[in-house]
Structures are given as C-alpha cells and as structure tokens.
Subunit: 261 residues, 2 copies
C-alpha cells in the first residue's frame, strides 16, 4: 500500500529533574526542536509545584508517588503545569524554530478524564484518562504545530483534574497509534532503566516483561519506575510501535532502555 | 460580490472585577458561550496576579496603571494569566459546549512583541505588540475553535512578555479586520462609559472623539478608561467595524457605549 503507510509520530515525555535544571532543559529543548517529523511533548512539573506549595505554605500530600489534590493544590498545579512550565517551554521552542503550542487536556477537549473514584484513598481532583481527541491532535500536527502537553485534564463539566504525565503520554500514544506509527520516549535524569540504581553504567538495553518481573521481585526496579514501565507495556500492547526510556540528553541517540513485549 | 462577503468575528475582552466574582463570571461565560459565529475571548487577570503576589510577598509595582514586571512578577503573571485564569475559563467554556482553547502570544507565535524600550520608566518584561499571526487565528477559527487569549506575548527569542489585555484585544481586532468584519467588545464591571463615574445610569450611548476630549478635559473620563478608549479609536481607524464598551452581563444586549469616529 504505497503512499498509504502510516506517518511516524514521536511522543516525548520529559519530567523530573530535567525541568529544574536550566542548562539541561535548554540542551534538551535544542534536541527536541531539532527532531524531524511529527512530534508531541508531554511535560511534568511536580518538583516546581512542590516548591510553589512550600512558598504558599500549602502542604504537599503524596500517596505512593501521587499528589493528593485538594482545591488549593489544583490551583497550584494549574498555575505551574498549565502556566509557568508550559508557556516558558513554548517560548523556548518558538525561539528554536519549533512551532510549539501549550495545551492542557481541557483545551480543544484534547484529553478527557473522570475524577478518580475513592476506594481506599481520596486523591481529590485527580483524573483517570477516559478519552483522547485524536482528530484535534491530527489537525494540529497537520497544521505544523508541535503540541506541548501539561498533565492536566478535565471532566467535561468544568472541572480541571491533575493527571499523571506518564499516563497522559501513554494514553495519547495509544490513541494516536490508530493512524500513526508511534514512538513513545520517556526522558528523565537517568540514562535508562538501571539494573543497579546506584550505577548509571548498568542501563538495561532491552526490558521484556519477564526480566521486569525478575528485577521487580529483587527490588531493583521500584517506586516511580514501576508505573512508567507498566505504562510502557500497556502502550505496546495497544499498538504503540516502540517505547524507549532514556536520558533527556540522549534523545537523538540510539541509547537507553528499549521496552519490548 | 455575493458569497465573498467577509465573515463576522467578535472579539470580547473581559477583565477587572468580573473575573474575580465567581457568579458574575459564570453568567458572563454563559452569554459568551451562547454567542453565535466566530469569536475570540481576551482576558485580563491583574487583580488575581496582585493577590498571588501578596501571598508570595512579592511587591506589586504599578506605574500609571501598568505593572512593572521583574523576573519574579513575570513568573506570577505567567502562572495566573497563562495557567489559572486561562485553563479555568477554558474548562468552563468546554462545559458550555464552546470548543475553547487557551493561548498566550507565544503559542503558535500568535502575538509577537518587543520589550518596551526604557525612556523614563523601565517597565521590565513588558511587551509592545509588533505582530499578530492572522493565519494561525484564521486556521483556529476555521477548525471551530474559540481562542481564549491571556495577556502575554513573546519576543521570538524565548522571552515571555507581560502585555496589556486591552491593547492585545485591539491588536488582534485590527489584524483580523483585513479579512473579517470585526466587532470589538470591551466588557467590564460598569455598564459602559459613564459621564458621571458615580452613576451607573449615566452611560454615554455614543462616544465620538470630540465628546471624549471634552469629557477627558473635565476629568470625567480618566485613569484606566483612557487607554481603553484610545485603543478603541485606534481600532476603528484601522478597519475594525464596531467597538462597544459595555457591562459583562449585557454582552447579548444592544447596550453600553458605542465608540464611533
């Protein structure tokens, strides 16, 4: 089917310490802006949100790495993710000739969610993704725009919801996989998934579900890496072509950990 | 030239006390969402920015009604205008079946500016508009999107700039007047331009440059109204079809003050 092959789309998630280090962020944005083809950037911002919370004397309540989001905290993450980080990133990408535009899930109804039901814990205004507006993303890409996505969704009834950025990147990747050949790249401060968290040289080149289970049982993969890897396998099972976990400054290199089924 | 007549576009600026009063804002957004045809919303947010500055113990320095914008203040207005107000407004409009999307001037390079040159006063990171991306606005409108514009621009070199919302609304109106029949509506907490600032019943129905000069000399029109009205005349002189200054809850009525040449 010549001429009808799916086009390539790269979805890059960047978070953690990278967003906090001005020089590293700038180098990362150089690499991202230079990437050819269709691309989407999803960013986190938890550390900056925690800093602003401290300044405003609002307690940051975390539960298993997830932020409990009351009304005050929702305002803080809306300001930090949707405003400060989003718009600074967009201005920096525009300066690099990348036609970026910052969005939350509420904008153009791009990513809809429902408030997480209370089972054991009430996470407050935290959203679980229920739908991705594939048509709107396609329209943006076809108009030469590079979406920059903040980890916020909405419920369609006027309520913004705090949403995990890794999950958001995976959900967008899965939705876009219906019509694009999607690569999902998780960039962070480490060079990949490590078999020894203390040694940057211990990058696992390929991580299968079997190896993951073994390393997890041994306690070598833990905390924040677990949802990231679970999201990766989920994405691959739902049509995403390739998932890589790598260092932010290795975006242009064949490096990091390739997640495979 | 049937079938080739310019389409109508309404640009609404809302600011001041309206954004601070939840019930009034909600009623205003009902009216805005119900407006037929192409539309753009430009919002302010100065009062909320001042509140956050107070909480963060950052001094709000004003000079002739304009905010002196140092680095810390720029972060605050980026969070408040580009994040909090923009995204809450977008979520509220989406709930009203209006396909809104929040932007700053940096997004899609929609509104470019240069940092205001220092003559008597250094306003800091304050931008004077130098260009409006008419094509991008047209693309958005043609895709059924209602842009919600925060009063922030960029210089194209990575610097965000704080920009007066009234000026931004006028600049967009003027740029779009090349291909649309543009109405520019300034909505605020008063029912229009008043000949007696103490009496809401004293709305001037039609304000010409002659009457404006007279009222200004008498001191009946002053402070914040002066740039608003100057912007209005400038817009009319540059092709904008109609300029109205009216109450936020009279958006659907033939009310307020019509500015004419």
């Amino acid at each position: 089917m010549k001429g009808n092959e799916p086009q390539h789309l790269t979805i890059v998630k960047v978070g953690g310490a990278v967003l906090e280090d001005e020089a590293e962020l700038s180098a990362f944005l150089d690499l991202f802006a230079a990437m050819p083809g269709f691309k989407i950037l999803v960013h986190g911002g938890g550390r900056a949100a925690t800093k602003l919370s401290e300044k405003l004397k609002v307690e940051s309540k975390m539960q298993e790495g997830r932020r409990i989001t009351d009304n005050e905290t929702l305002d803080i993450v809306t300001m930090v993710y949707g405003g400060l980080i989003s718009k600074k990133t967009v201005a920096a990408l525009q300066a690099r000739n990348c036609n970026a535009c910052g969005f939350t899930g509420a904008d153009m109804n791009l990513v809809k969610a429902c408030r997480r039901p209370v089972i054991d814990i009430d996470y407050g205004f935290v959203g679980d993704v229920t739908g991705v507006n594939h048509e709107a993303f396609t329209m943006l890409l076809n108009n030469g725009i590079t979406p920059v996505i903040a980890p916020l969704t909405h419920d369609g009834n006027g309520q913004l919801l705090n949403t995990n950025a890794d999950t958001m990147a995976s959900a967008i990747a899965i939705a876009m996989a219906a019509t694009y050949e999607v690569s999902l790249v998780f960039c962070f401060e480490k060079p990949g998934v490590l078999s020894d968290p203390a040694m940057d040289e211990s990058v696992i080149q390929q991580l299968t579900p079997e190896l993951y289970l073994t390393l997890r049982e041994k306690g070598l993969i833990h905390s924040g890496m677990i949802p990231k890897i679970d999201n990766s396998f989920a994405a691959l099972r739902q049509g995403v072509k390739q998932v890589i976990i790598t260092g932010a400054l290795a975006l242009h290199l064949p490096a990091g950990t390739r997640i495979t089924l």
